[in-house]
Symmetry: C2
Subunit: 144 residues, 2 copies
């Protein structure tokens, strides 16, 4: 299925990270470090996304821990529903975020809001859980 292959490569070059919302990013990072022996980054505030992040390197997967930062954090409601924390979204890498948006539009799928700058300063776009079997999806263009 060459067409499907092309669509898949445009929408997902690879899994970039699994994002986990937690009430306390330092406590969560300590679990991954102490119980699992994983390497964790220093907590980094990302005010324009309303989160503080810690990256955890697991074999075969990168995990992004997210703690609410400031008022109206986009993960606040999720944590009210899941006070202990939980898996919040999946992030797929794309080469060309505008090409990805065009394909999705042709299938009647609109992103949430506009393309914006993500936690790594590269363009990102979010897809609504109602369009992807209950899962919030972030598409991240991995270069400018």
């Amino acid at each position: 299925m060459p067409d499907n292959d092309k669509i898949l490569k445009t929408l997902c070059k690879r899994l970039n990270h699994i994002a986990i919302a937690v009430p306390d990013v330092r406590a969560a990072a300590a679990v991954y470090k102490d119980a699992m022996g994983a390497e964790t980054s220093e907590p980094t505030p990302v005010p324009n996304h309303g989160v503080t992040t810690v990256f955890v390197s697991m074999p075969g997967a990168s995990i992004e821990l997210l703690e609410p930062l400031g008022e109206n954090s986009p993960i606040e409601k999720f944590l009210q529903k899941n006070p202990r924390g939980g898996i919040h979204h999946l992030c797929y890498e794309v080469d060309d975020i505008h090409a990805a948006r065009e394909i999705l539009r042709s299938k009647g799928i609109a992103p949430i809001g506009e393309i914006s700058d993500g936690a790594h300063g590269t363009p990102v776009m979010f897809l609504h859980p109602r369009d992807f079997a209950g899962v919030l999806i972030e598409l991240e263009q991995t270069h400018e």
Copy 2:
């Protein structure tokens, strides 16, 4: 940190799959196939785990879609809380599930229940979300 490296390799050789609970596994598989162009397996009933599964091959990640099967499915409560579906657990591969259990026990972490046969007929064990920053974790030994 050679000790931490050894612990990490014992507890997580690599991410095996991301499990997503959904109300209708066929509808969810159609989304991944039609919107994303991904390859999906045929739905497979796994009665001893109370689920019907579909595997989705995404670049860099395998996704397991889970639909409740029979009464008292272990994902029923999760779907009551998340009717549209959601990311249910992460599965890490291990070489030796008993060695993994010993390391976790030495850190005061007990698995949920006993080691049992998983969806692929190999031994699996589940770790409680309260011990892993809100995330249910499955460890799967990938050979007998």
